[in-house]
């Protein structure tokens, strides 16, 4: 029971921080309706031309579709690898579990730019021996994204496994369940929400990945973030405002739905 509520001053400061956090997200809305070809606030005249540009310019649609496919492949592979790894650590409790865990975390804690250069080296080296998993290809980007997002899946799944009661697994084993039965019928069903969350989070991380993608793509594998980057660097393209509004709307809707579901669950349990 919380007896001490934050003071008025703390509440006011927190409200200001909340405004600060939301301000840039709200600012893109008016800009996206500008009739001009450069970034400006509309002056009484509004236009949907930048929304139309997204639908009519094949580059945007191709970028969106490519990012969806890459995100799907990368998060599927990353979740599978991470699930195997976390399960293995949980069941086996190997002596060097901490070391293995540390290794798996390296891409998450290393400075993104160092990871980007490392993956650039990885993919340009592979380019010399094959054309599939290579610099500026679909599978090249997928593999690089798997490296970057798998650690996040490991963290989520390790947390999920930490909440599983080991005695369930012991009971299954003592009743003669084999490894496959224990994994697929006992443990995995217990962490299904963790698996879904891991898949979803890694998809979003791949979908919006830009730091590494910039280093490992040039003209063929142009993902949506890469397109946005190109439109942001020199002359700012207001089409970015339109696409940003769409992306923000999706996130707001997803977060609101999640909050509503949580509220309903809480009401049902009370």
């Amino acid at each position: 029971m919380i007896r001490f509520r934050p003071s008025l001053l703390a509440t006011v400061v927190a409200a200001l921080v909340a405004v600060f956090l939301l301000m840039p997200l709200i600012a893109v809305i008016p800009v996206s309706f500008t009739p001009t070809r450069y970034l400006a606030v509309p002056d009484g005249e509004y236009s949907l031309r930048h929304y139309r540009a997204i639908l009519e310019n094949p580059a945007w649609l191709q970028g969106i579709w490519l990012s969806i496919r890459i995100g799907f492949a990368a998060s599927l592979i990353a979740t599978l690898l991470a699930a195997g790894f976390s399960l293995g650590i949980w069941m086996l409790q190997p002596r060097f579990a901490g070391v293995y865990m540390g290794l798996a975390m390296v891409p998450m804690v290393a400075p993104p730019v160092v990871s980007a250069l490392t993956l650039y080296f990885f993919l340009t080296s592979l380019s010399q021996v094959n054309g599939v998993v290579a610099y500026d290809t679909f599978w090249g980007v997928v593999m690089a994204h798997v490296v970057m997002i798998a650690p996040f899946a490991v963290v989520l799944l390790t947390v999920a496994l930490g909440q599983v009661d080991r005695r369930i697994d012991l009971a299954a084993r003592s009743m003669g369940a084999g490894l496959a039965t224990r994994v697929f019928r006992v443990i995995l069903p217990n962490i299904r929400f963790g698996l879904i969350t891991a898949f979803f989070l890694t998809f979003v991380l791949s979908w919006e990945e830009i730091g590494v993608t910039l280093f490992i793509t040039s003209v063929n594998a142009v993902t949506l973030p890469r397109l946005m980057w190109m439109g942001l660097r020199d002359n700012i393209d207001p089409a970015i405002a339109a696409i940003s509004v769409v992306l923000i709307a999706i996130v707001v809707a997803a977060v609101l739905v999640r909050t509503a579901v949580e509220l309903r669950q809480r009401r049902n349990t009370n």
């Binding site: 007896r3 927190a14 840039p24 293995y100 990885f122 798997v146 490894l179 910039l214 977060v255």
Partner: protein
């Protein structure tokens, strides 16, 4: 039995070794072989005033960003964890929505607010506050604002877990002994959350050091930080050896920082 479980752990580690650790060794090799064998690039990196200037600017900006982010995050977390139920839900949305939105969209939002024809300058000129647009972006100010905006949600999570584990009875005891509200906050509550403050500070600082996208967009090439310098050395003025050497120095710096923290955390019995 044991062998089959090793097949769970191994794939991720083998994948990361092949796609990350070995290529990183390749980057290290670049740093001592390009353009000629030897440690010349390290000597350049640690003596060239341009590179040193960039490193110094990076550390200075990141230190400022870290302090501002943790202070802002502390205020908003306090209200998120200890506020009234409805306030808590509103604050949670204000933290989660920006958290899920991509770094590009957020950087663009700041451009829409701060640029010469952006919301703030347009509004201020319409109201007659200032006649000429103020330069709020494409400089260090813009970089700091954008980075703080990105990092506040990351600082919230360690702070929240520290604040949630504060024992309410200690605060009641302090009041029972006649401490004022301000005194309870500064001399009891804040010291009890110092583990969270420490964790948030470290997390934000480590994240900020390797930042690439936000400084590149909001700095506009005028306030180059380490990550952008590496990018320039690899893709603009091909000097791969120097780019690789700076990357290795950066990686070592982060490694030492994390190592020291872990030692400190262990030493203080946490």
């Amino acid at each position: 039995m044991t062998r089959s479980r090793i097949f769970l752990i191994a794939p991720l580690l083998v994948f990361l070794a092949g796609a990350y650790l070995v290529p990183f060794l390749g980057v290290m090799r670049w740093s001592v072989t390009l353009p000629q064998p030897g440690f010349g690039q390290y000597a350049v990196a640690l003596s060239d005033p341009l590179v040193l200037g960039v490193i110094w600017r990076t550390v200075r900006i990141c230190a400022m960003v870290t302090v501002i982010s943790v202070v802002l995050a502390y205020a908003i977390t306090l209200v998120w964890v200890r506020g009234a139920p409805v306030t808590r839900m509103v604050i949670e949305l204000c933290i989660l929505i920006p958290f899920w939105i991509s770094v590009l969209t957020r950087a663009f939002g700041w451009l829409a607010l701060l640029s010469n024809r952006g919301l703030i300058n347009t509004l201020a000129q319409d109201l007659g506050l200032w006649a000429e647009p103020l330069t709020l972006v494409r400089n260090e100010f813009g970089v700091i604002v954008g980075m703080v905006h990105f990092l506040v949600p990351f600082a919230v999570f360690p702070l929240a877990s520290a604040m949630r584990s504060v024992d309410e009875r200690v605060l009641l005891a302090a009041r029972g002994m006649g401490a004022s509200r301000a005194r309870i906050f500064w001399q009891v509550f804040v010291p009890m959350t110092k583990g969270g403050i420490f964790g948030a500070t470290l997390l934000v600082f480590v994240f900020s050091i390797g930042f690439f996208v936000t400084p590149a967009i909001l700095g506009g090439g005028r306030s180059v930080m380490v990550a952008e310098l590496i990018w320039l050395r690899i893709f603009q003025s091909p000097d791969w050896g120097l780019g690789a050497a700076i990357s290795v120095i950066l990686m070592a710096g982060i490694g030492i920082l994390l190592g020291l923290t872990m030692k400190y955390a262990k030493g203080s019995g946490k």
